[in-house]
Symmetry: C2
Subunit: 339 residues, 2 copies
Amino acid sequence: MRVAIVGATGAVGHELLQVLEKSSLRFDELLLYASPRSAGTALKFRGEDLTVQVTPEGAIDADLILASAGGSVSQALAPKWVEGGAVVIDNSSAFRYDPEVPLVVPEVNGPAALRHKGIIANPNCTTAIAVVAVAPLHREYGVRRMIVSTYQATSGAGQKGMDELLEETRTALGGGEAGAEVFAHPIPFNVIPHIDAFQANGYTKEEMKVVWETRKILEDESLQISCTAVRIPTLRTHSEAITLDLERPATPEAARELLAGAAGVEVRDDPAAKLYPMPLTASGKYDVEVGRIRPSLVFEGGLDLFVAGDQLLKGAALNAVQIAEYLQQQGALKEKQRA
Amino acid sequence: MRVAIVGATGAVGHELLQVLEKSSLRFDELLLYASPRSAGTALKFRGEDLTVQVTPEGAIDADLILASAGGSVSQALAPKWVEGGAVVIDNSSAFRYDPEVPLVVPEVNGPAALRHKGIIANPNCTTAIAVVAVAPLHREYGVRRMIVSTYQATSGAGQKGMDELLEETRTALGGGEAGAEVFAHPIPFNVIPHIDAFQANGYTKEEMKVVWETRKILEDESLQISCTAVRIPTLRTHSEAITLDLERPATPEAARELLAGAAGVEVRDDPAAKLYPMPLTASGKYDVEVGRIRPSLVFEGGLDLFVAGDQLLKGAALNAVQIAEYLQQQGALKEKQRA
């Protein structure tokens, strides 16, 4: 089987290579593609040097394409890749809201992936991280309302986001005035409640993605969800404060036990030992850390919790590879006939 | 009239001097006190050098004492200061929950200050900032539920908190491993959902302070409030994402107009122009920035908003001086008879 990564030199592409290296996915060949600016680079994979090629304008002769080169690239090329016989797992937002395209977090709605017509969408990072923790609670207690405030890392804007944080922090510490190119304002020692474009309803697209995508993944359009998405000066891992109004009352103890047995979750919830989710401990980790589980003070029988998940992994690269692994395990990922 | 500052060399003490310098409060003499470790320092005030003295164990011959030396100092000494005839405005949490002690944010419940029996408590910084924005909305629309997620600066832990952020960030940028003494974990490029001690209900004391103090200041014990208090790598100014369930429906437009006329508030809410509350713009400012005002997606007729307030100012020093100004304007702050 032949796998291709489109957008191999970006922050998510980098993680895709790392995750694939450790993955149980069986394949014979890996092709790497990027924009002309980055093509020619050699990237290591399982000890070999692979040369990054320019993403072609048409089909790619691969069985599986992991795309992470932005919405416009996917929008333009994914249909051609599908025509060429590949299954596409797309990390952009281009197809997430298409009713024909499954939006998948394998631990939550793996079987939805089997209904694909060529393209499977990978959710927004903030959604993927939240939903791993919330889905088991939704199944058991029925989430009615969900209020999310995010603490999002600069790597949500890719490698250039992290670079800007580091460079501008150095400038600020040196007594200079921090600038901003990637972000709307200087990010060092600042907080920016603005990620992606503002919508007519006053919410940003990032905030509405959490609403739209959580509903689609949990297959429940009645869910009431509100989000405030905030960029903070961290490098990787998004954290989220989540308040849940539940149909059936939950206790923190029962929720902790339920989540301890849930796939993709690490319960990290021992305040006396100073154990709770943090970017410092969640970065580089496959599981989403969940902690600070406590009874809601505004919804009777509801819960408050705090999660931290590496958004380059569970929020992007890892989830994409897990979708591929799931398809292969289900016998739904096959090598095409080649002449 | 003689004014004394106890805890003059701390982060809040520093701000108290600056705020007093610009204040309309009329007084003749300023006395500065601190612990033996900091005593002897000379601090500038209106062009003069004032020498910091060791805080005495008993009464201080002042008419007004602004205390910011921590809870144990206030607990032990404030009753003696009151016996000595001074009015005490206390920045610690020592007396905030005492039903005999008014807890005051002048814009919100100024008249409560007039009922003091010697001590007036200054609220927790997170509460002071939130309540300036929420009180006008509560008066007009009746807040039923309030959900707060905070983005708190290191200066909430005083000058040493800011120093630790700066030093450890330098270490991290230099390739070293950041350490932690002031905070429970390294703070550079990290997020710590742990401020003050954990309580039996799973909330931290910082989170419960927002619940207890908001109710006391708004004089409404029926208010349902939940808070997640999170330390982030910023220097000063706390930000807060606030979701409000209202008894009477509000529109963002009406709320914006109401808040534009509210004392202590600067409406900063023009997303198209990238204007919203941020530490970068709110730091050093007396008013609390309020923006991102939008209809709640989980409470019909409710609101979501984002606030940023300099917690060393409105959350501490400024509010204390404003209480003193209010008392003096009301003729309730008088020089005592001296031999």
